[in-house]
Amino acid sequence: MPSLEFLLALVMLAALTFYVLLGGADYGGGVWDLLARGPRAAEQRGVIAKALAPIWEANHVWLILVVVVLFTAFPPAFALIFTALHVPLLLILLGIILRGSAFIFRDHDRTHRSDSEHTSGTYHPAAQSRWGRIFATASLLTPVLLGVVVGAVSSTNIQPPSERTTIAYFFTWFAPFPFAVGLFAVVLFAFLAAVYLTLETTDTALQDDFRKRAITSEIVAGVLALTVFLLAGPAAPGIRERLANSWWTLPLQLTTALFALATLATLWTRRFHWARVCAAAQVALILWGWVLAQYPYLVRPELTLHSSAAPHATLRALLWALAGGGVLLFPSYFYLFKIFKVGNASPPGREAAG
């Protein structure tokens, strides 16, 4: 029987995985809104808005769940991370506020509009401009900062600064390695979004737009993965060492690479349903690789799962609560995605009915 703290760490990992695969793609959608180009730019934005509208609020809750489990089950780690990384976490918060509210304002601020359509998530080009730009920019920057936090947590020696100077609170994260992780994160999110978006429209020209974006971002992600690994040498030796020398690393890297190639192949041959599965698997494996390299540390060098775990009574009660919540959550989530996502835009012709 694995220890309670191990089980809770697994729950946290599961929540983080869902956040990356679902919430991450929502950020990625915003990135493609920002980068919408060409004759179909407005239509691209329309597809993105329609895809995000019914689900982004639910997807966002995974992040809250990660934070809540962290502070309930591993309070010292939570306190340390939220003290030492105050600045980037505050900026993430700002990004979350701006992204969410600008997205909904874009749809509801009628200064430029006169239609009387109810909230259908349809996108109106006239209302782009201010809110659209804020939504898209925040969608680009927030994942970079999320990656910065992950990168900083992976680095050696994150401690609350010993001196109470403002600048000391920048040294904890303002370095090349965390930003490389940040870039890697945002490119992966954009990649996921582009792959998912191929299934959100039946228009083959639009599908092709997203297909090209997916392939390009997959290649960029490959380059960034290598950059992150190289920078980890000096910045995060603990992780680098585990990634380079553990028994699991070769099979894991090979499987990840296989899924990456499979994503490219299925995109190339327009098997978009398969591409979606392969892309999600690839990104999940990257995340799990990082977690394996970090295990059993939450924050190096002192806070491990075991040393920072809350008392058993708390862990046991929390596991029951999470199990009970999960029983309600998963069918509901499945229902939401069945209504809005599964085969949403294909086979052709269903769109008109919806």
Binding site: F78, I92, S101, T314, A321
Partner: protein
Amino acid sequence: MSDLLAARSQMAFSLAFHIIFAVVGMGMPLLMVLSEWRWLRGGRSVDLQLAKRWAKGTAVLFAVGAVSGTVLSFELGLLWPKFMAWAGAIIGMPFSLEGFAFFAEGIFLGVYLYGWDRVPPRAHLAAGIVVAVSGAASGMFVVFANAWMNTPAGFRLLNGQPIDIDPLAAMFNPSSWPQSIHMILAAYTAVGFSVAGIHAYALLRDDTHLFHRRALELALLVGGIGAVLQPISGDSLAKSVARTQPVKLASMEGQFPTQRAAPLRIGGWPDVARRQTPFAIEIPAMFSFLAYRDVNAEVRGLNDFHQDIWPPVLPVHLSFQIMVGLGFAMMAIALWAAWRQWRSPSLIASRLFLWTLVIAAPFGFIAVETGWMVTELGRQPWIVQGIMRTADAVTPMPALVIPFLGMTIVYLVLSIVVGKVLVQEVRET
């Protein structure tokens, strides 16, 4: 501005902002669901139109509420890491349950707002019911956590550290039910009266408008029931405060001396230097009676406690007076509405009544804000009553005034935009 004051101000602004959206998230789904249910029962298209219109206005508030709620969960760690390191294991339980309530809200709100044409009518109504129930549940769980800060339970202290943690006893601490019931009723009252005020304003221009008449009926029903029940809940909460937080209660009432047959003060202006509360209307022995159901009961005044652990008495007292005053005003309006409904066929024939509703539109929200000031300011200087001081919980990060100003500016801009969007949407009806 000291770092502690900056941190407290940032938390206060974030709470004051979020509570509005949280209250809307509890109250509006109930109104939407009631109107939709009326439509399914009676088949009048005006009821469906109303449910959709309310849903549309609410969508914006929900989205802003989702992000401003996230702000609070982050700020627990950003501003009060020492509190969270100490208490996270004790109060994490209600927060994690709240996480699932928030999930249910987010998921079924998506179904409700965007699924009008995608799911059958009954499933759509059911989705709305889930949103309403999980909205109330999520408010309840968060208030459970706050209640623990007022009446900490579910652990023992050993050298200043908590041991023998019992998460369920912590979650169901003595203040949990009185506080959360008070909050949920407040949410229904605030939303009901605000919505009633908006539709009353429309009816003042055109009192034949069926849409606004149907809306006014439902809003007054929800807000009115809340307003009538609220004094009962407030009384039981006050009795619980009398037992567990005598300093808070004495500040609320502006009670300096410890005395038997203490009077209830209406209004008044506590003078901390002179230790008395002049300019109040005093009802003899009423305070003793309300707190202990005994006109001769002894009430402990602030003088019994070291001034070091007094909260800011003046703002606590004034906030409490405002909250209670507005609460009774809304109860009176609710009874007036019931009487009108009973005596005459139409609620809306009286322009005076409609104008009263327009004026009362913000009452519930002001009462919610002042009520939270009573609860939070009244607990100072403690973050965990009697155990941990707020000053000992704050993050060591310097220059906290910068995040405070930044968040304040963002929230001001958001408030302006939300206000503008709502005015646009109300005008379109």
